[in-house]
Amino acid sequence: MLKIDKLNLKFKANGFIKNLFNDFDLSVDKGEFICILGPSGCGKSSFLNILAGFEKNYTGSVLLNGEKILKPDIKRAIVFQDYALFPWLNVIENVSFGLKNRISNHQERFMQAIRYLELVDLVEHSRARIHEISGGMQQRVAIARALAVQPEILLLDEPLGALDDWSRRNLQNELIKIWTELKQTILFVTHSVDEALLLASRIVVMNVNSEKVLDIQLKTEHPRKIDHPESVKIRLLIKDVLNQKLKKNTQENAAQSSSGDNIFDPSI
């Protein structure tokens, strides 16, 4: 469904021209729940920006159902870490925002929005103002808003990063429910290994140079436990791969005495 071939993105940072992705290949099938995992600054967000259509100056081919991605489209809905809800609209108006061009009747638009508010358990708050509800609820509204346009693929940019533990766990279950009930294709970007292990049906790991270093299918049924043998095994594997690559990098860097590269984030 989503096919990425030889992706490269050049961009300027602090006067250096940096090349991201280095001929990145990825192919996503319908119904997969993919986690893109990588340390901070590895280009995960740039990757999502390309998929969302915000960034079109890439080389290589990025196709969704054979169509080149060059501009934003409701086929690819995105959810941001900081929710990005429209504060001048209430909850249901936010959720039905993207339906304006598709459904002309106001009432029908709200009916469709209500269905997705039900999915995230927020029907009783449909008339609430955005500032009246908690961060966790706001993120659920943002997810409902993205799902309401019935996208082919749902893009999530570290959507749980700004939440407290309790809300995060809640939303993780919510995402699993959405994935199993709607068979929604999901591409989820995160720097948390545990989150990826809990949610994904497939994990793609990027290193600091935004190269793909690992691509694993996860077999365990949801809901998963963090100490499940498969999870433990894969966690070790991921840390190993990232550390190895890091060592190799530092050696190379020392040899070439080049600077300006990203530093590995130990928080993952």
Binding site: G53, P72, F80, A84, P87, G98, R129
Partner: protein, 252 residues
Amino acid sequence: MTEQSGKSSQTRVIFLLSLLLLWYVICKLEIYPNYLLPSPAMVLNTLKRGFLDGAYFPALFQSSKRVLIGYLTAVVIGSLLGLAISRFKQLSNTVGESLTALQSIPSVAWVPLALLWFGISESAVLFIVILEAFIPCSLGVQNAIKNIPPKLILAGRSLGCESFDLYKRIIIPAILPQLISSLRLSWAFAWRALIAGELFINGSGLGQTLELGRSLSDMSEVIAMMLIIAVIGYVADNILFRKLEESTNHYS
């Protein structure tokens, strides 16, 4: 009304009454002669006569007409210019920069040029009012657009809003609270520019009446006009615009 706001309006009334009392006492003590500082009673008399004779109504009407025409024109020009400057970088580097410089010129400084270009006429006053009032509006719009969280624009675009729709459904609603604040500021500038301009032209108006009072050495007329100007300015600013601002409070 809550107890709190009842109390604060009580304090306000007491404050105004004590100012009035101070004025009254100074006049009673005859520190300054009457023709320099008329008593509250004299000013009240002048006001009463002005309104009962109907002499003030043409002035009020003419001034309101001028300020409304000038203000509305300024708001339209200012908002459109603000939108255009935010949209096109070239405009922002040229026109945008000079606006800030233009803003530091007080309206009175434009009077000589305005009188020369438009004659001693209504157009001169309109020119000054528009020139004064469009700048805060334009700067306010630019600033508000700059402050829109970029993610809101991206979210809007990914939900199917492009070009005109993006302005209608995202940018305009997002800047509305700040837009109202700049409309308020623009109003204050328009009102001052109006009075400054009217001092120099013929015909009827609040500024002209004030100037007439000066030339006849009738200070109670001057003070009466100043009071009317203050009351109208207060009502517009604190009642009309504050209500508007409160209606967008839920935004943030």
